[in-house]
């Protein structure tokens, strides 16, 4: 589990405990836009605050680095493997309606890459950022338990309301 911001390590471990198989996206080695952007985002925004290399002051302490006028953009990427693409898509559809619950303060993208659900958050406000991630992890845990507890999904070829 990788997180671009040092505050998010705890939440990352929660996801791992909940899903049992989650990992942060770090390399843009898949075809999804989420993973690729995540790599760029992590590289550029860990944190993205325009913090340059710190120079030593006269007393040997680190001198305050010039802070860019641009606001700090926080980013977190999560990849959760499922047993099949169907399950991953099911989880996405269960969790997606709440993608924009924080009125645009936190931007969240969900995508399915093979059998994995990929989620990326971007935000400037660290409080809403953390709330959104924590909330999502709680819901994700519930969805995973739900899928595992109530059987495998029927084939997609059947229409709604028809029994398998």
């Amino acid at each position: 589990m990788q997180a671009p911001d040092r505050d998010e390590a705890g939440e990352g471990s929660e996801a791992e405990a909940a899903g049992g198989e989650s990992s942060g996206s770090r390399e843009g080695d898949d075809a999804s836009g989420v993973g690729g952007q995540g790599a760029e985002g992590e590289a550029a925004g860990a944190p993205q605050a325009g913090q340059g290399p710190q120079a030593l002051g006269p007393g040997g302490d680190a001198a305050p680095a010039p802070v860019a006028a641009a606001s700090r953009l926080l980013e977190f990427t999560l990849t959760v493997p499922f047993r099949s693409p169907l399950e991953a898509d099911m989880a996405r559809r269960s969790l997606a309606p709440h993608a924009q619950r924080h009125g645009g303060v936190v931007h969240k993208e969900l995508a399915v890459n093979g059998s994995a659900l990929a989620v990326r958050w971007t935000a400037e406000d660290p409080v809403f950022f953390r709330i959104s991630i924590n909330s999502f992890l709680d819901q994700l845990s519930l969805v995973i338990r739900n899928i595992r507890g109530f059987g495998t999904p029927p084939p997609r070829s059947l229409g709604p309301g028809k029994r398998s």
Partner: protein
């Protein structure tokens, strides 16, 4: 768990209905308020259980859709003749999963998140509670109903109104289950769930509805395919007023603060004059709460009154206000039926006062017991059953929740 399904027991279920129970778990069967608590009051008009077990007059073949109706009737032809709907409710501190099939409640287990005396329930903690128990409740409902996923025709859930985090937790499970079992999904208005369950259980045809709970206080009447709000609270709900007063006195929240206030009120002897705030068709409770919170400490400290007196006085005042606005709505509509729904509707004193008013008007009062007054999954399933048969569907992409969902936002296409 009953050995036979309720509709198989026929008239015998009346005895089971009158027993009732106050603990969690709504159970299957009728939930009509018995006449006994009101003694031999002449002219008392309560709907008794026998009408509950027969198929309601509302079921059966629907007529053709009205011109311009939003839901094509053709879809009805593809629906099972006896659809079974699974309903999820979790908008406040009660989480319930119910199963309804063609007017019969097959299962209705429920859990309540109870906080320590002097405290209320917060959204995050409540949602955590719901997430911890909802899957067990789902299995319990299926087992109690004797059904499998293949027997369920539709998944209904509370779309709103209510508390955000608990609503989300329940909606997530509903969406997942709908996909797992490949069933259509229906988002239901919580208030309409109460109304439709009240209509089902009591058999009331077109009543003026007093909907009173911890989160809502509305006087509602049906007209032109909408449940119209004739009057409501302009600030807090009556149940919220009672609950917050209970915190002041550190009254236990188990099984609910309102129930404990009701029991204490029975021992009250002195009426403390409180503000009486009716504004036309509407009511206001925040000022009464502020007032009683202020005087409670002083009067209790000086011994002017007891906590029981305060509970009694608060109930008498707020319930009289509710009776007034209900009567005003009944007079406006020319209605001869009144139906009380919502958690506060369990209160026997409120039912008694409403019954007095109805009696004076020559009207009938309908009420249910705690199994169906208090938030429960079966009421969502019942409203979902009506909507499902009328052709309503909620696409997954549109299956979010909303904390503010007005009763009159829903087009009631399943009624004439």
């Amino acid at each position: 768990m009953p050995a036979q399904r309720p509709w198989q027991l026929g008239g015998q279920i009346l005895e089971g209905a009158l027993l009732g129970r106050r603990d969690d778990g709504g159970g299957a069967g009728a939930g009509v308020r018995a006449l006994e608590p009101f003694g031999a009051r002449p002219g008392a008009r309560f709907c008794l259980a026998p009408g509950v077990l027969s198929l309601p007059a509302r079921s059966g073949i629907r007529g053709p859709a009205r011109p311009g109706g939003s839901q094509p009737c053709r879809r009805f032809l593809s629906v099972s003749a006896m659809p079974a709907v699974l309903g999820f409710e979790g908008s406040a501190n009660k989480i319930g999963v119910g199963v309804v099939r063609d007017g019969a409640v097959l299962a209705n287990p429920r859990r309540t998140y109870v906080t320590p005396p002097g405290t209320g329930f917060l959204p995050g903690d409540t949602a955590r509670h719901h997430r911890a128990v909802i899957l067990d409740l789902l299995q319990e409902a299926l087992t109690e109903a004797g059904l499998t996923s293949q027997d369920i025709d539709c998944i209904a859930y509370t779309k709103g109104p209510g508390m955000g985090a608990p609503l989300v937790s329940v909606a997530v499970v509903a969406r997942t289950v709908a996909q797992l079992w490949n069933k259509p999904l229906l988002g239901v208005n919580h208030c309409i769930g109460h109304i439709e369950m009240g209509r089902l259980i009591t058999g009331a045809t077109s009543p003026t509805v007093l909907y009173v709970s911890g989160g809502n206080t509305q006087v509602i009447a049906y007209s032109e395919h909408r449940y119209r709000i004739f009057g409501e609270t302009i600030d807090i709900a009556v149940g919220n007023c009672l609950d917050r007063f209970a915190r002041v006195l550190k009254i236990s929240n188990d099984p609910s603060p309102g129930y404990n206030i009701e029991q204490m009120a029975k021992r009250g002897k002195k009426l403390v004059e409180l503000p009486y705030t009716v504004k036309g068709m509407d009511v206001s409770f925040s000022g009464i709460l502020s007032f009683i919170e202020d005087v409670a400490q002083r009067m209790l400290a000086t011994g002017e009154c007891t906590p029981e007196d305060l509970c009694f006085s608060l109930q008498e005042t707020v319930f009289a206000m509710l009776v007034e606005i209900t009567e005003r709505a009944m007079a406006h509509c020319g209605s001869q039926e009144a139906l009380i729904v919502g958690g506060v509707g369990c209160n026997l004193r409120l039912q008694e006062m409403m019954e007095t008013m109805c009696q004076e008007r020559g009207a009938r009062l309908f009420a249910t017991d705690e199994r169906f007054c208090i938030d429960n999954g079966a009421m969502i399933a019942q409203a979902g059953w009506e909507m499902f048969r009328a052709g309503h569907r909620t696409p997954l992409s549109d299956s979010g929740i909303t904390q503010r969902y007005r009763t009159d936002e829903v087009e009631v296409t399943w009624r004439d």
